[in-house]
Symmetry: C2
Subunit: 262 residues, 2 copies
């Protein structure tokens, strides 16, 4: 019973974020297991009540684009997505990353149009839900309303954490924090978090974190030198994280005042 969520998380994933059968890597603590189960339960409920329209997407596909009329919210059943805002003067900014169980499209509710692009970064499937139908269903089923509000609330809290990272952490720490967040997100979804495959280029990571691609590269090299992470033998997109705690410790070390050597 505990493992059903973990199992279902694997569905619809091909070469994407691969789940691992061993409990050693999947939701290794109670909180992660609970989170993973919550996501599975939420998806099941939404499926039952609303029978959302499925859409399979591939890397590079746009789920919606800025300016488009808002009518649907999406729930991510699998895959990995980025939210990109585009300013009028042409600046582009990756503002958010989304995984299984996350929602897309909240930004469109207020203005009636999306204010950003939602882009798939891997094969996945999203469930489209008409917003008006969702509202109607929420009246009949209060649990749905709770789910919806919690999702929006989490997004708000998460965005604030992002801002905090960008404003208060030096570049190296920001990259470490980014990896930690990614590993955490995988754990909470019942996926193995000791090995992650970045499906973003250094340039995309840099954009998200407010630094250049060279700085990202240097930070990753430093993390590897300090043995906080390791690269897969072949290629440098796969990152092994034997100990997530070490990433947190690295962040703290970056913040600590320079040691006085006498």
């Amino acid at each position: 019973m505990l493992n059903t969520a973990v199992q279902s998380a694997v569905l619809n994933h091909r070469h994407a974020v691969t789940a691992h059968p061993s409990a050693a890597f999947c939701a290794d603590n109670d909180a992660d297991q609970r989170a993973s189960r919550n996501i599975a339960d939420t998806l099941k409920l939404l499926d039952n009540v609303l029978a959302p329209q499925r859409r399979v997407v591939h890397a590079g596909d746009l789920i919606y684009r800025a300016g488009e009329r808002f009518a649907n919210l999406c729930i991510l059943n699998s895959g990995f997505f980025k939210i990109v805002t585009l300013s009028t003067d042409g600046r582009e900014q990756v503002v958010s990353l989304k995984f299984r169980g996350d929602w897309l499209g909240f930004d469109g509710i207020a203005s009636g149009a999306f204010s950003c692009d939602a882009v798939a970064m891997d094969t996945g499937d999203v469930w489209m839900i008409r917003y008006d139908k969702l509202l109607a269903a929420c009246v009949a089923c209060p649990a749905l309303l709770t789910i919806l509000h919690e999702a929006m609330s989490r997004e708000i809290a998460r965005d604030r954490d992002s801002l905090m990272s960008v404003c208060t952490l030096p570049a190296d720490a920001r990259v470490a924090e980014f990896l930690r967040y990614w590993a955490d997100s995988l754990s909470k979804r019942g996926l193995r978090s000791d090995q992650i495959t970045l499906r973003m280029t250094r340039a995309e990571i840099g954009n998200y974190l407010g630094m250049t691609l060279e700085t990202v590269s240097r930070a990753l090299s430093k993390l590897a030198r300090d043995k906080v992470i390791a690269f897969a033998e072949k290629g440098r997109r796969d990152i092994r994280i034997s100990n997530v705690g070490a990433l947190g410790a690295f962040v703290q070390r970056c913040l600590a005042p320079a040691p006085v050597l006498q």
Copy 2:
């Protein structure tokens, strides 16, 4: 009929953000007038349906603090507020600024506890609404639900804009953008935006924008030197902005590639 919203916006404001009777400064365009009216209408509806509990606050008062159990949302009827998140390791970050008509507390919905402090920066009054009562009322009154979702949606979109500014703009432009946002916020609430009184220290502004207080000071001096803003004759907290467009132009100038001089 067009001016009622503007009038009501003045209520409950003492020395805070002062409204101006002349239409030249208040909601000078249709969009601003509409926004101002929307805020007034929303407040009226909430007042009628929920009869929120009033609370008068003064500069420095905490509306709620991180860790506190979540039970109420707040609507700001007047005053000016900051949202501050505190990381476990002691970093502090101003993540958001709030004005009349904005909501406080969405971050508490998901986890059942607030994840940040909400601090009044001026005299004002907030309306407290029990979240469970609000949900019940939403079922009976769909307009309420729309209002709630739009507020959350706007907050999400706004947070993303903040992140974009911090990540893509140089320090000078960030300060200009900050002032532009502030002036805009005043316009949308039917208040004069040609003269704003910063109720934040340079240190607070710097924290919010991800830079040091010295850099904020230098940026403001540069804006004044370039005649984009002007300081009040006495003191340097009051800022005159004769032309909001000039702030936008300044931002663009910061982004433009260095001019080739031959």
